[in-house]
Chain length 211, copies 2
DNA sequence: ACCTGAACACCGTTCAAGT
DNA sequence: ACCTGAACACCGTTCAAGT
């Protein structure tokens, strides 16, 4: 069957220029993840949707794990750009740091499977696009700097604080996604993130000890 | 082949009394998880190690997912008892709440695959052992009460605080397990948990606003 | 009531062969 | 250089048949 015919279900074959199969596979993988979750993300299904044989991906990725890594890296990129924008757009009365945390949680709730894949997949920076490693490091640096500016504290303390903030929002997102938060009618993740970052923000900015 | 002969590699067949295959499968599953991780935890491998045919588990579990749920529930039980003990044993100068958080993190670092399975698997309390549901609820209640006692705050505020504390330690454990914390030589999870709970404890107990 | 063995559909991976 | 098709080992699941 030719690659330009529509598929059996009538949906169009994803358009990709010849020689861009690698990119098409990453995109198709994300598509499957969003539509049907991690369990449906098989190498053969990705190949099927991309309109190539099930062996074709091996010309672009060493194995399934390598494709998953590439998808995870793309997700990190997406989340980073989203958070950076949120931080810039945060109106002056609004705290940029809180906007950052809320954007983090929003991404998680909008892309649950991708988010889980991103953070449950060991990323060895050696196999990552250097531009991405740099972008991630820069994002973290600006996060650290933001904390130090607001608190006027030592770098060591800012480090502790950043770890605590990141852990809180990350843990909250994970617990929420995994359905572990089931006391009452569970509020949307965004609201919980607002609550938690509010609490932490209030605690941190009130004048007191900072070792 | 008889079930009482040693296996090919010479290791003994796990002892379980006839009629206790269900329990043997759960135990064997945890064994595989600890030794070789989630990817190695297949239904067929569990059956193999337990010395039964690959179809036998279906007489005790509806499908693989049901076995995973049972294993996850066992893990929750293990973690709960461990944390309860840690809280009791905490010496008076030591804060019981902090001991709780540290025990949580310690369990995660000692049983990484089991921990991940526990929290990445939606638990529907309907299919869980009622004793376990009750035990979990009781553990959370005592956690909540501990917060309210120490802070002398409203129940609503204690709820916010408990969510924040839980999220922090959970997120920290997850990020650590997934190798996302790679600035310097990463400290043991226990040390990071001490650092984060120290910070949060100090912030919470200093006299200030509690809405 | 509990377990087995064969069978089916599916998956990841490899490789000789095609263009 | 890139892709295909057949092949292999493995898995989850089902089911008739055994005790």
């Amino acid at each position: 069957m030719s690659r330009t015919e529509p598929r059996a279900d009538g949906s169009p074959v994803p358009a990709y220029h010849h020689g861009d199969l690698r990119e098409a596979l990453v995109r198709t993988g994300i598509e499957i993840l969003e539509e049907r979750g991690l369990a449906a993300l098989t190498l053969r299904e990705v190949a099927r949707r991309a309109g190539v044989s099930h062996a074709a991906p091996y010309h672009h990725f060493a194995d399934k794990d390598a494709l998953l890594s590439a998808i995870a890296a793309r997700g990190v990129w997406m989340q980073n750009t989203r958070m950076a924008r949120a931080m810039e757009e945060a109106p002056p009365p609004h705290d940029g740091l809180q906007a950052y945390g809320i954007a983090y949680a929003e991404f998680a709730s909008e892309h649950p499977s991708l988010f889980r894949l991103m953070y449950s997949h060991e990323r060895d920076s050696s196999s990552m696009d250097p531009r991405m490693v740099e972008a991630s490091a820069a994002a973290f640096q600006s996060f650290l700097r933001g904390i130090q500016d607001r608190l006027g504290c030592s770098e060591a303390h800012a480090h502790s604080v950043s770890l605590t903030l990141w852990s809180s929002v990350h843990g909250l997102a994970m617990l929420w996604l995994d359905g572990q938060l089931r006391w009452e009618g569970v509020p949307p993740l965004r609201d919980l993130a607002t609550e938690v970052t509010n609490l932490l923000g209030a605690l941190l900015t009130s004048p007191q000890k900072r070792s």
